[in-house]
Amino acid sequence: MTYDTLYALFIEELVKVAPDLDPATIRQDDQLQDDLELDSMDVLNLVAALHERLGVDIPEDDYVLIETPAKAATYLSTRQK
């Protein structure tokens, strides 16, 4: 999958976890917790959703690598099978 596909997919899963967010206003460098106001349970749910969708395991140590949509898309493109 390309970066753009993974980016779109990440946003899709993100707004499922946090449907208060408007996909149109999410910027690629928005921090999940600081800017988009996800809490730690939201992050866990997002990781679980990404696992379900892509089969990618994201260890706790790597959460910092998915802290913005742009970082997440890059990370997912290196991690996909």
């Binding site: 449907p19 208060d20 106001e37």
Partner: protein, 579 residues
């Protein structure tokens, strides 16, 4: 059954609370030992926490070390805190606020929350912290009930959550915004602090003067404002020493958010009273960052919460193995019962077990605890601290009687300890309902074993405990039915491995609406905007109708029993079943 963790004699010998101390304990004695007081029997929490240390020559000791999100560090000494809190008190006074007025804060883990809390108390006003991740609705409700006179917050929070309705709070007189500039109608805190007098002396408040109001959720009705007085500092002092092993100079990290009672009682007051050095981390939970913080800052006493501990457990022992935790000497946990696996995991990972303890917003401080000199039975909340009489009571036959060992009943405390709440604000009837004879009934069900250890069993009501936060289903349901599609809502807590419980909602729809994934997201999104992510439901399920009693009350208990496949219990009051 988990094996009891036996403490070696060498470790017991280092404990602040020994059997000898327990036997000799009295509130009068400990007050003389741990607090100074002010002339004429006055007592002020801010004086005990900060100013007296400066008076005794410890002004240069580091009171807090703040760690910013992006790696900034800021050390504040006790002298710095004394001056900053005096300036904050002067700012309040210069805007016409005086004794008895109420100051609310809506801040993250940042130094200003200390200036605000201590400055407010110093000025003889009442401090009320609110959780900054709350949505606008819980914030507004609490400010209305508490008749807030002043608010301290950030510009970002103000613009997002406060600005549209702040003029509708008639009691509000001053909005302080952290930083150099402020929106129209607000006052910028930094320049105001610069100009303010640093000479404000602690007001000689009386022991029974109102000091803190902490909000807690109710099963029905609005949130309750639990009122605490200046004398509560005696509990904070005693428990800081006995339950958390705090001593002068100890490096201490409490991970609680300052918007909740733990973040005030044990994130601000208790450690400062003991002249400890506090670590404040602005960032949210981040495994590597947390482990690195313990190692780098040489944290000695660590007070955290089950949700965080379980997140660390998910990452495994290997993630922890790279760090040096040899500075740690005492670990404690609060917020919800700590599962036995987590207690033992502490021993295996940090070389020390987590010491679980139990208390509530209403109790103001730790009541029941596993202390350093006690053997730990993993999963137990421990034994009552000195000065605290706890019992398991049965109230079935109109009266009350103590339960036998192993029998489940209401966890109750003999009224009269210093940090006991003195009222629920404007809610005399609800306050009175908490007491039977001279016992405070906690609302938690528990049992006591033959060795006197207490074990949590569950809540006696429908309150939900998620990530250590008590959530009232009524507040969530009220927000849900404000969505145009929702006719009725029933909200319960479902067991969750990490958070303890998570919020789940069942809704029935108004005519013209059909269940769909889009609608589910729209309803959850609405709830998150109103309530914030910590309070809003994580899942919403559609029902044609909800189970209700004859009086029209939604039977949450039944929703939960069915969800979990448990016995339905007494359903004689059921009038309309769900479909």
């Amino acid at each position: 059954m988990w094996e009891t963790i036996i403490k070696p004699e060498t470790l017991r010998a280092t404990a602040e609370l020994t059997s000898g101390v327990r036997a000799a304990f009295s509130w009068e004695k400990i007050e003389k030992e741990l607090l100074d007081g002010l002339p004429g029997g006055a007592i002020n929490i801010a004086y005990e926490a900060v100013d007296r240390h400066v008076a005794h020559g410890f002004g240069s000791v580091t009171a807090l070390r703040w760690l910013g999100k992006s790696g900034e560090r800021l050390d504040l000494s006790y002298a710095d805190l004394s001056v900053a809190s005096a300036r904050f008190a002067s700012v309040l006074a210069s805007h016409g606020l005086g004794r008895g007025d109420r100051v609310f804060s809506l801040l993250g883990r940042q130094p200003e929350v200390f200036h605000a809390a201590l400055g407010t108390l110093k000025a003889g006003m009442t401090f009320t912290p609110l959780f900054s991740a709350f949505g606008p609705e819980p914030i507004r409700t609490r400010m209305e009930i508490g008749q807030a006179n002043a608010l301290v917050t950030t510009e970002a929070i103000y613009r997002r959550k406060i600005e549209p309705w702040i003029r509708d709070i008639p009691s509000m007189r001053l909005v302080l915004i952290v930083g150099e500039t402020a929106p129209e109608g607000c006052v910028a805190l930094d320049p105001a602090m610069q100009e303010a007098s640093p000479g404000f002396e602690a007001v000689p408040t009386r022991p029974e003067d109102e000091a803190l109001i902490h909000f807690t959720s109710g099963t029905t009705g609005r949130p309750k404002g639990a009122v605490h007085v200046h004398h509560a500092v005696l509990n904070h002092a005693a428990t800081g020493r006995y339950a958390l092993e705090l001593r002068p100079g100890a490096i201490y990290w409490c991970t609680a958010d300052p918007g909740w009672v733990t973040g005030t009682s044990y994130g601000i007051i208790a450690p400062l009273v003991h002249r400890a050095t506090l670590i404040i981390d602005e960032a949210e939970f981040d495994l590597e960052r947390w482990y690195a913080t313990i190692e780098r800052e040489k944290v000695e006493v660590w007070y955290t919460a089950p949700t965080a501990i379980r997140m660390m457990m998910r990452a495994g022992k290997e993630a922890a193995a790279r760090y040096d935790f040899s500075s740690l000497r005492f670990l404690a946990s609060v917020g919800e019962p700590l599962n036995p696996e987590a207690v033992v995991w502490g021993s295996e990972t940090f070389g020390l077990p987590f010491h679980d303890n139990w208390w509530q917003t209403e109790t103001g401080g730790i009541m029941i605890a596993n202390t350093l000199d006690m053997d730990i039975k993993p999963g137990s909340m421990g034994r009552p601290l000195p000065g605290i009489e706890a019992e398991i009571l049965n109230r079935e036959d109109g009266g009350i009687r103590p339960c036998k060992p192993g029998e489940i009943g209401d966890l109750a405390l003999k009224a009269g300890w210093p940090s006991m709440m003195r009222a629920y604000l404007h809610e005399e009837a609800r306050y009175k309902k908490c007491f039977v004879d001279d016992w405070y009934i906690s609302g938690d069900l528990a049992l006591k074993d033959e060795d006197g250890y207490f074990w949590f069993v569950g809540r006696a009501d429908d309150l939900i405990k998620s990530s250590g936060h008590l959530i009232g289903p009524f507040e969530v349901e009220s927000a849900l039915i404000e969505h145009e599609a929702v006719a009725e809502a029933g909200v319960i807590g479902l067991p969750d491995e990490t958070a303890g419980e998570v919020v789940k909602a069942y809704v029935s729809l108004n005519p013209g609406y059909e269940p769909s994934d889009e609608l589910e997201k729209s309803i959850r999104g609405h709830a998150r905007k109103k309530l914030g992510p910590a309070v809003a439901p994580r899942t919403v399920e559609f029902r044609k109708t909800l189970p209700k009693t004859r009086s029209g009350k939604i039977m949450r208990r039944l929703l939960k029993a069915r969800e979990l496949g448990l016995p339905e219990g007494d359903i004689s009051t059921l009038e309309t079943d769900e479909s």
